[in-house]
Symmetry: C2
């Protein structure tokens, strides 16, 4: 499995989402998988990279063609339901940052 996003030449946008999970799972894994699959179907989605350690600290970076694409994904009804569950149940804390990618390099 290639876990790296294959993104176009900059500029494009990144949503950097860092989060601390609560235990136990309470449906988190299924919803997270569903949200990643759903995000990948949205207009303007360019890819995502995601990881979480055994202590429950995770970072997901999703890449988007435009601010408008990010706004539409944020407002998606199923995603809104997941966001509510995130705040009420799954996360003890999160930080979300929206950034414009200006330069990118790969290990060659």
């Amino acid at each position: 499995m290639n876990r790296f996003a294959t993104t176009p030449k900059p500029p494009y946008y990144a949503v950097i989402f860092s989060s601390q999970r609560n235990e136990p799972d309470q449906g988190y894994s299924d919803m997270a998988d569903r949200m990643m699959a759903l995000a990948s179907q949205q207009a303007g989605y360019l890819g995502a990279e995601s990881t979480r350690d055994a202590a429950g600290f995770g970072i997901t970076v999703s890449y988007w063609a435009s601010e408008e694409a990010i706004a539409q994904w944020k407002a998606h009804m199923d995603h809104q339901a997941a966001q509510s569950m995130g705040k009420s149940t799954w996360y003890s804390h999160y930080e979300l940052r929206v950034a414009k990618v200006e330069r990118a390099y790969s290990m060659v």
Copy 2:
């Protein structure tokens, strides 16, 4: 331990570094700790968030006040040595993206 970076109001810069580690460790953990400590002493450093899962896939996002601060950290001699070891030994692949953070939100 608070693993979230406490960053100022945007705009500021993010360096998004995603990497796949090779096994075995070969001095990686010590160097990674040293680099995080050294980065935190650099001018313009604002914080960092980092995580890696059991499969060796990691994301580190460091935050910086300016492009100039990023360039100086990239050119730091000890960091250059670590970058060489990263390419030759520690990573099977990485992607590095430099982005300008425009908006930020915390879970409240």
